[in-house]
């Protein structure tokens, strides 16, 4: 056989591919095995509404404490709750409502004594810049064909709060068939930013530093639901200790300063 013949060249390529696969497989699986020294990677499941504040919080935590690396999974709190219950490798949860955390405590997935409310949020009614202005009280009078974006009430806390608010205002039924449900609060904001909807209900913190939407109306009054940011440590987490020190950090003055700058409201 010639040294550079077809079959042997092919065999060499196959061998290289297999080697590459082996290396990849090892770096993926072997990496995990070493996750107990300084190289730990804590995984935090966080509500989409924390996606702008959390990287800053993590950077501040790392600046103070050095390691560990903190990986984040963002999504709708309801959806993330399900993933924790399904056994996803998550060490701590930061949710936009108390409900999903409390459910995890009830099903024994989150440690009850780790539950803490770290901040509060408010709802605002927003719309695309230059769009027609609407208000909470005139929501049922939005023009034919126009849509209002809210979060999927079953999975997205911002949507559950929005539903509560609309029910309290007596607008929920009138808006039936005219609300498009976003898969998390980021999706709801995006609907408004793209100008696909006349209005959207999101947290006040969503619009900080965003200039293509405007706040039409704030949610103030008895009907306005209070949104809590609630954290908890996952039971039997693989990185329980670093995870809980990160959760502790979230109540520190430094973290509170960051949350405040991002538009969150704090107790005391």
């Amino acid at each position: 056989m010639r040294p550079h013949g077809g079959p042997s060249a092919l065999r060499r390529i196959v061998a290289r591919c297999l080697l590459a696969l082996g290396v990849l497989g090892c770096s993926a699986s072997c990496g995990r095995g070493q996750n107990d020294g300084n190289d730990v990677e804590v995984t935090v499941a966080a509500a989409a509404s924390l996606r702008s504040a959390l990287p800053e919080l993590i950077a501040a935590f790392n600046a103070e404490h050095g390691r560990p690396t903190i990986a984040t999974v963002y999504g709708a709190s309801g959806d993330l709750r399900k993933r924790v219950q399904d056994g996803a490798p998550i060490d701590a949860v930061l949710f936009a409502a108390s409900d999903p955390v409390d459910q995890l405590i009830k099903t024994g997935h989150v440690l009850a004594d780790s539950r803490r409310v770290i901040a509060h949020n408010r709802l605002v009614l927003i719309g695309p810049k230059g769009g027609r202005r609407i208000e909470w009280n005139s929501l049922d009078a939005i023009p034919e064909g126009e849509k209002l974006a809210i979060g999927e009430p079953e999975a997205v806390p911002a949507g559950a709060y929005a539903k509560k608010a609309l029910q309290a205002l007596g607008k929920w039924d009138a808006l039936s068939g005219r609300m498009v449900f976003g898969g998390d609060v980021a999706a709801v904001l995006a609907y408004a930013r793209r100008g696909e909807v006349i209005g959207a209900i999101v947290y006040a913190t969503e619009v900080v530093g965003i200039d293509d939407v405007v706040v039409f109306d704030e949610a103030t009054g008895d009907w306005a639901p209070k949104a809590d940011v609630v954290v908890g440590a996952v039971k039997d987490a693989s990185h329980a200790r670093p995870a809980s020190s990160f959760l502790d950090f979230l109540s520190s003055p430094k973290a509170r300063g960051i949350l405040k700058a991002r538009g969150f409201e704090l107790d005391g």
Binding site: G78, G145, E154, S176, V180, F181
Partner: protein
């Protein structure tokens, strides 16, 4: 609580409406591609088949980009008072886009197997081109075309990703079965998701059996 049957009927309505466009367009395109070597053959082939190889999210992106409110055509349509995004028509368009290539892909080879001589004979016996098409081509290729229609229909009713991006999840308006499954699952309501999973699985099984019975095969006379 919404009517649990709404997503079922909506899915059927959306898929059937899509088929109203897909069947004539698909058959015409298949015949165009099968019958002659025109200059744009490769181009048409690519354009028609593209949705088959593109991920649904890419199709959804393009649909919003084209027909969204600030989209390329959407902007003009909006001016005319026509709004597609977030309507059942958006779901129809998404379904039709993905169903069309399925029909073309099944019908075209079937049409190509119809012997050319039969067409010539048909013409020489005084049949008009349209008659030749219906009485010779479709009669010869009906198994392939019918299989294509069945498969295109289930593809249409199964559309999810592009529909979610373009038609949105609007309960009572655009929440087809596939969207309802995702939405219920996300909200942790697995039993609600399961009921639609059962319906779609049954439909899928029925399709497999049906298409196996009608699909063209060498051992079966046409």
């Amino acid at each position: 609580m919404e009517d649990p049957f709404f997503p079922v009927f909506l899915s059927l309505r959306v898929a059937l409406t899509a088929m109203v466009f897909v069947v004539p367009a698909g058959i015409a395109l298949a015949w165009l591609q099968a019958s002659r070597a025109h200059r744009f053959r490769g181009f048409v082939d690519g354009l028609v088949l593209l949705p088959m190889v593109l991920p649904p999210s890419v199709i959804g992106f393009f649909l919003v980009w084209l027909f969204g409110r600030r989209g390329l055509f959407g902007h003009a349509l909006n001016g005319l008072g026509v709004r597609l995004i977030f309507t059942p028509w958006a779901a129809v368009l998404a379904s039709a886009t993905v169903a069309l290539p399925v029909l073309v892909k099944a019908a075209q080879p079937a049409m190509e197997t119809v012997p050319r001589e039969l067409l010539v004979v048909g013409r020489s016996l005084g049949l008009a081109p349209v008659e030749v098409f219906f009485r010779v081509v479709l009669r010869g290729a009906w198994r392939g075309v019918a299989t294509g229609i069945v498969l295109a229909f289930v593809r249409a009713i199964g559309e999810f990703g592009a529909t979610l991006m373009f038609a949105g999840n609007i309960p009572g308006r655009t929440n087809t079965m596939t969207i309802e499954i995702w939405s219920a699952y996300q909200g942790g309501d697995e039993s609600r998701a399961l009921s639609y999973v059962v319906v779609l699985t049954a439909l899928g099984l029925a399709t497999v059996f049906l298409s196996a019975r009608i699909a063209p095969s060498p051992s079966r006379p046409r």
